[in-house]
């Protein structure tokens, strides 16, 4: 009895497959088509539904209240969503065509969402693209269109034990040449490890790609259609990464989970680490405010043969094609990228403004740590904006780990990365 049921069910499933098979992939899908109508300067109206993730989602309503003062007929309704798996929620919304008006998007995910055709292109003249940090603006483009407006940015810089450096009589390294000796000097002051580097955790690539960029690598060809990991520059960068392990400056078994490195840094067993703007708060939590004030130094990444590029991440705003209040959503986003609003938001959240002009006033100009971030942001680069980047990045993570643990040479790793990345492809519209 059960077998006949089973075979019927299988036949049913196959029939469903054949239905799918009957329809070939149309050539027109992919990019979102033409830009929508321009947005007027009149005040926004109606309810604007937005999704925002993490602490941004919790704090945004306060900022939105200010928006309402200038736009009394509009009401911003914020739904806070955890960052964890938010991408699936956005994809599901796009697939079911039941979306809010706008959403915050992690900069690395924008390409993926844009490729589904569910996002609207940024209307012409809404914002001045050149007002943002270049790296941030770069990560809002996909297939010739612009699908997001940068809101806040983050980048990674060098955090080091200032007290150990002073005791050793060295100052923060400016170039690759000074980097190794600097870290060795800190190790002589009692630190077991000079620099904490990721060795196989998710998103290690964000800390390792900068070495390749600093050596002059591009990773993609000119028109973003092919990967280029098998270049001498990329090799130089990866060999430099490897040298930290062979010289015993860094441990081959880097920390596995979040929050593991801070106690080691506070205890002085690890003398330096590469991290983003959130690190100061984490170090305060682990060592107290005095520890951060007296013992933590911050510097831009040391310059390699070509540059001192770091990785740029952050959050963008995007509007859905199925938005009910499209104009209102774009008006809200335009308002969010005003320099004074960006400053307000920095005061409220600590998120670094994506608009360069916002950095010209208040605490953003006076704080020496922020000055370091500011100068790092000028050269920071995003990962390649292709839809398969997450998958290629996972290959990178795996191969980087092999180099770190000493089971693969940088050359062999890059050859495998190039082969796998080429097989995965860039996922541009077929």
């Amino acid at each position: 009895m059960s077998t006949s049921h089973m075979s019927k069910a299988i036949i049913g499933g196959l029939a469903a497959t054949l239905v799918l098979a009957g329809c070939g992939r149309s050539d027109t899908q992919g990019s979102g088509g033409a830009k929508g109508a321009p947005i007027s300067d009149s005040p926004a109206k109606g309810e604007i539904n937005v999704w925002a993730m993490g602490t941004e989602g919790e704090r945004l309503p306060e900022l939105a209240a200010r928006f309402r003062k200038a736009n009394p007929d509009a009401k911003v309704k914020v739904t806070a969503i955890p960052w964890q798996d938010y991408a699936k929620k956005v994809e599901t919304a796009i697939a079911s065509q039941d979306t809010p008006d706008a959403t915050l998007v992690g900069s690395a995910d924008l390409t993926n969402f844009a490729s589904t055709g569910g996002l609207e292109q940024v209307p012409a003249g809404l914002v001045d693209t050149s007002s943002f940090y270049r790296g941030a603006a770069q990560s809002t483009t996909y297939d010739g269109g612009t699908y997001g407006v940068p809101w806040y940015v983050d980048t990674r810089v060098l955090f080091y034990r200032k007290d150990l450096a002073q005791a050793a009589g060295v100052s923060a390294p400016k170039t690759w040449k000074e980097y190794g000796p600097f870290l060795k000097a800190l190790q002589k002051q009692g630190a077991k490890w000079g620099l904490a580097l990721p060795t196989g955790v998710a998103a290690s690539w964000q800390s390792v790609l900068p070495f390749m960029w600093e050596a002059g690598a591009h990773l993609m060809n000119e028109d973003n259609t092919k990967f280029a990991f098998d270049t001498p520059e990329a090799l130089k960068g990866l060999e430099y990464y490897e040298s930290f392990f062979t010289s015993k400056t860094s441990t081959r078994n880097g920390t596995v989970s979040l929050g593991e490195i801070e106690p080691q840094f506070v205890a002085g067993s690890t003398a330096a680490l590469i991290s983003g703007p959130w690190e100061t708060a984490l170090l305060k939590g682990a060592g107290g405010a005095d520890f951060v004030k007296d013992k933590v130094g911050v510097a831009t990444l040391p310059k390699g043969p070509t540059s001192n590029a770091s990785f740029i991440g952050g959050g963008h705003w995007a509007v859905f094609k199925n938005a009910k209040n499209r104009d209102g959503a774009w008006k809200f986003i335009r308002w969010l990228s005003r320099p004074d609003v960006q400053q307000d938001w920095y005061e409220q959240s600590g998120d670094l403004p994506a608009v360069q002009a916002a950095w010209n006033e208040g605490k953003l100009t006076s704080d020496p740590t922020l000055a370091v971030f500011r100068s790092q942001l000028r050269t920071a680069l995003p990962g390649p904006t292709v839809t398969t980047w997450k998958q290629v990045a996972a290959v990178l993570d795996a191969e980087i780990e092999k180099v770190a643990k000493g089971v693969s040479s940088p050359k062999a790793a890059l050859e495998r990365i190039q082969a796998k990345a080429s097989a995965i492809g860039t996922g541009q519209p077929r």
């Binding site: 469903a16 589904t116 596995v256």
Partner: protein
């Protein structure tokens, strides 16, 4: 097989209701059917939508090139036959994931069964006092959130963690458990066994309690040692229980996911990536076709292993 046994009592019930048989063919029967379906329909509807439908939609997805880019236009995908499946077996990461899953199943299931049986026997006979306390204590890991478990076990497994401190007391310098590709799997298996043996233990305990004590006493009177009595009386009578435990465990252990997800993210060097984790990753990359194919490999493996266990245990019973 299970349906056949569950049908039996129903048939007996209907045969005792001779007087109502005439009305069965009439409107009463129809009304009863309608009422029955009305009561069943919420479940049937939910189970159909969230249980049955996804099974077949993922089967059809596994033979197409569907990716996250197609979510708005699901009918534009192309039929690719078994390409996703061949791609899987060409991918060294998947092969590694399959081997890791087998490793986990082959070592984890016997360990869990032995431990749960041992504890169940101990609870059933030895420890009379505070039995309830121990039952709860051993069952607690099952109901503890995996996140809380992960936080604690990550501490235990650190290179200078508690496990290595204890080992150093007896002169063994322990490995860096979660960072060493040779030790990461044993570490996760140990944790999984600890986390999962509660349910088999309760099932074994129920099985043990259903064995009439006279049988055991008779064996002892006949001069059998305790071990002999356990082997010749208790174990054979536990066979149906053992089958249930083995099948439940293989179904849940083949889906090995939570431990690598919270502890190692599949690393170091892919040493703890499982088939489920691989499928999860592929879904994350938007490769729904490949992910569905990986899931179906897993489904097939579960079906085959369950079938095999039925065969083995039925042949012996």
């Amino acid at each position: 097989m299970t349906t056949a046994t569950s049908l039996k009592p129903a048939r007996e019930v209907s045969s005792t209701r001779q007087p109502t048989q005439r009305s069965r063919r009439g409107s009463g029967h129809l009304r009863r059917t309608v009422v029955a379906w009305a009561f069943c329909s919420p479940f049937v509807l939910l189970f159909g939508t969230f249980g049955i439908w996804p099974v077949f939609s993922s089967l059809s997805m596994s033979v197409t090139d569907i990716t996250s880019r197609d979510v708005r236009t699901p009918f534009s995908v192309t039929f690719v036959g078994l390409e996703n499946y061949t791609a899987l077996f060409d991918d060294p990461t998947f092969v590694r994931a399959a081997l890791n899953t087998l490793y986990f199943v082959a070592v984890g299931i016997p360990l869990t069964m032995l431990l749960s049986l041992a504890v169940a026997v101990a609870l059933n006979s030895g420890i009379q006092r505070a039995k309830g306390f121990f039952r709860v204590a051993y069952f607690a890991p099952v109901v503890t959130s995996i996140v809380a478990v992960a936080v604690v076990w990550r501490y235990l497994y650190k290179s200078d963690g508690m496990i290595n401190s204890l080992l150093s007391v007896v002169g063994i310098s322990g490995p860096d458990w979660l960072n060493d590709p040779d030790w990461s799997m044993p570490a996760l298996i140990l944790m999984a066994v600890w986390r999962h043996f509660g349910i088999p233990m309760v099932i074994f305990l129920a099985g043990l309690q259903s064995i009439p004590p006279e049988l055991h006493e008779a064996a002892v009177v006949d001069g059998a040692s305790r071990w002999r009595a356990f082997r010749s009386v208790t174990l054979p009578l536990l066979r149906p229980t053992t089958l249930v435990v083995a099948i439940l465990l293989s179904i849940s252990y083949l889906q090995f996911f939570e431990e690598p997800f919270v502890m190692t993210s599949g690393g170091p060097l892919d040493s703890t990536t499982s088939i489920s984790y691989y499928a999860y990753q592929q879904f994350g990359f938007g490769n729904y076709g490949v992910a569905s194919a990986a899931s179906y490999v897993l489904v097939t493996a579960i079906a085959l292993l369950s079938l095999l266990q039925f065969r083995i245990f039925r042949a012996r019973a």
